[in-house]
Symmetry: D2
Subunit: 287 residues, 4 copies
């Protein structure tokens, strides 16, 4: 990756503001557009003039709010196509969670679109603020300390791994529910108790906190009926979630469905993680 | 300790309510007074009649609100002497943080008063909810994850030890400031960076979070001037605290002075810790 | 899996002896053959008569010593085909690291051969005794404590993960060398330093211990020349290993190439891990 | 402490050799005597001439072998008084474990004798190599991994704390036996199981490894009779130890009494710990 590059950071929330500032501190030339309330004037551009000579144009995560740019820190309402029209063919456009329509429009203009949200290393990095966000919620909601509490993590993927590491680090007694035998083997290596996720209904009565990470129906009426009174459920699974919310409500089980935590609980860390993935992309492309 | 004892739990907040319920679940006979909003009727007594035959009478932490019982979950306003008058000479009275006046009145009536708040094992147990309370505050206030952040703990006593354990468990880079050489040696054993607490002014610029546990002036104007912008200071030291709050305010340093965290952040855990210390006292006294 | 099964454990080292005893303690019927010095008489069979009615026949890891059974705890020298001839078509034969010739012979006899060494969950479980074996070697060889030492793990796969967890648990300062960006992201999540494994030559001078887990040439003359005097290298990579042993010898770098650690350092744990994988296989097959 | 001092390091094992080299690398003037096989010529002195002008004279740990200097890396046999006679009144003499006779002789000559082995921070630092030495022994002796094993630590002092930290770090299930209520509270904070050390006889049957750190009779015939077959006992308590060795031998319990581990398992780390304590002493004395 070259040492001095020209970046345009367009739209976005405090993560993009952090990203713009951090790129600037690393010595790059940075312009922002539609991010007025996030950055100071020297980094702000009044129009998209000049964006066509950027080495890398970065749209936020998610990029779009319908057909417009996702730009909560701006009063402008910018159609996405207006941004694309300001770029030149072959230019690198890094986008978080690119919808098919955006991809198509980019292709039409022969832009080099890369979806950075699809990168595995960003998903890994985002697992940390997601885990901390869940821990913060649990601390706020529960009348007991996490230290010494009994916690069940459903799922042993990226997020499950980080939750185990941090909750054990706080001193919780952590069990992991999984289906795959290798995931169960990992749970033992991590020093956790082990539950078969297809037999959850029988074993849930001992937990003070259950955190679901699996985007599939894991906690249905049957499982929810067996919870200890006061047990808190945090669902981190993306839509449609892993909990039968209607049943939970009827049974009086408190469920918090927490989505998109990184940008909410740790926008600065989440913004720096985007910077790392942008650098990785540039390194791979030999820019 | 005998298996079935007669307890009276008088006054107090949700910790005492937890204590009463937990003693009852352990099979003891439990009466409460002036704790109406905390426990269900079977455990509630309408008067102090019968308190004189208790094996152990427990007052809350702190016991007194001026000359009256500390009883935030009750509408009654009970003078402390009224409680003492209901007891018989020689009876065991466990009290949290007994003021000299209360001790004197108890002595007059030849009650056997024990201050459970003075017990070392309760202080150790309370360090956990205090540490978690501080971590919750840091998570709520900081725009970065604690994982990967640089944290300085001032003091390597009970609370410092637990903070180190939990913050390192979350993945923070933790340094410890201490004066005693053995405390500095412990900090190294824990895998922490080490700062001399008498030379703090020079080395504070790298921290994202500073947690003070020492009840002495540690962070004065000189030290506070050197902090990194955005650094959060949490002061856990009892009055008069360890931070020059006026200077911090002038310098724009955010300081949160957090006292009495256990009862606020984890009343159930804190109540169970009181139960353990009560049992220890009874065991020692051969009751 | 049925509760009472008939197992034959044939050949093997102390791991198979542990396996046979543990299956027996779980309530199953167990016969062993060619494992005389490992188990007591009630479990020993004098011939293979009866093996044909076993629900599951288990050969060791590795199964073969040339064309004969691997049977270091027996004075018998049993041709593999002799065992296969004693079984009936359709019978389940679990084998550790089955060579193509063995697979072919099993297929001829229509045996249902499963290679349990190829199971991911066994590889995960075996990472623990391998990691502890490497730690034991490092403790024996180094004049410093692992606590506080600087350690580089090359590779962030199964074994790298467990090494990181255990070495950090001992208090070592651990860095990870990897090439994939997601592996580098994981190293950061684990709280490790990060090295690019394609630029190792520049950064090795600070380490007290280097553990290689990658079966590819990682430490060549160039890299080895830059090591700190006294740095210990442990190579855990299977043949041909990851270190240029000739160059190391010339340069006076101490390298220990440690293979097959689980059976050597923790035969009982390794045997119990085989039991778990056998149960998983039986569960999957609905036996 | 002044930046350039004149040290004499007299006698000792590889720890003193490390100490001498490390002082030299820090920029100090260093002479050694009776340490020939430990250091290279430039640091070696042929006689004690010149020792009288040293800022600090350091004797080994232990200082004496009877009435002579403890000097296993030398062929010389030097009476202690010969060394003392070479020094001048008022000179600083740092000694490891000073016997009363040595103290008396030093006082006669008005030397300023400091016993560095009595310093708390050295005891803390030495707990690390002692703990690692015990872990190494356990790894060598046990056929199971420490990960997942059940370990009991008797005593929650300095050494107990470090053993808990490292064994839990390896993934062992650790319990702590203690008598004091605050020690039991700490064991819970560390996430350990808890045993009352005065009721050990009832609860020992579940452990794979027991490490005693208490210099008092903890494991007598009654306790030893209840151990699980194959349980390993490591006694780290100084003389007379905490185990009834005769009973253990009769009962077939394997006990390893491991003393003075730091100098054996990690002489370099142990030598550097002595350097730190010498610097602390000099700082306190304002040298």
């Amino acid at each position: 990756m070259r040492e001095r590059l020209n970046f345009w950071v367009i739209g976005g929330d405090p993560r993009q503001a952090t990203l713009a500032r951090a790129l600037n501190e690393d010595g790059h030339t940075v312009h922002t557009y539609a991010l007025e309330r996030g950055v100071e004037p020297p980094l702000r551009a009044d129009s998209l003039a000049g964006a066509a000579i950027a080495d890398c144009v970065i749209l936020p995560l998610p990029a779009a709010d319908g057909e417009h740019l996702n730009a909560p820190l701006s009063d402008q309402r910018v159609p996405l196509v207006q941004i694309l029209d300001a770029l030149r063919p072959g230019q690198l456009l890094c986008v978080g969670r690119a919808a098919p329509a955006l991809k198509e429009e980019a292709e039409k203009r022969r832009l080099r679109l890369v979806d950075y949200f699809a990168r595995e290393e960003l998903a890994v990095a985002n697992a940390v603020p997601t885990s901390e966000g869940a821990i913060q919620i649990a601390m706020e909601e529960l009348p007991i300390t996490l230290h010494g509490s009994r916690v069940l993590i459903i799922g042993a993927g990226r997020l499950g791994k980080v939750l185990v590491q941090q909750l054990k680090g706080l001193g919780a007694n952590v069990s992991v529910a999984a289906r795959r035998f290798d995931h169960l083997a990992w749970a033992q290596v991590w020093g956790c108790g082990v539950e078969r996720s297809d037999q959850l209904d029988r074993w849930l009565c001992g937990y003070d906190l259950i955190v679901n990470t699996v985007p599939a129906p894991m906690l249905n009426r049957e499982e929810l009926s067996g919870l200890k009174p006061g047990c808190l459920v945090i669902d981190l699974a993306s839509k449609p979630g892993g909990v039968d919310f209607a049943a939970a409500s009827e049974l009086g089980v408190k469920v918090i469905w927490a989505l998109s935590l990184p940008g909410k609980t740790a926008p600065v860390s989440a913004g720096l993680a985007v910077k790392t993935v942008i650098y990785n992309i540039l390194t791979e492309l030999g820019v």
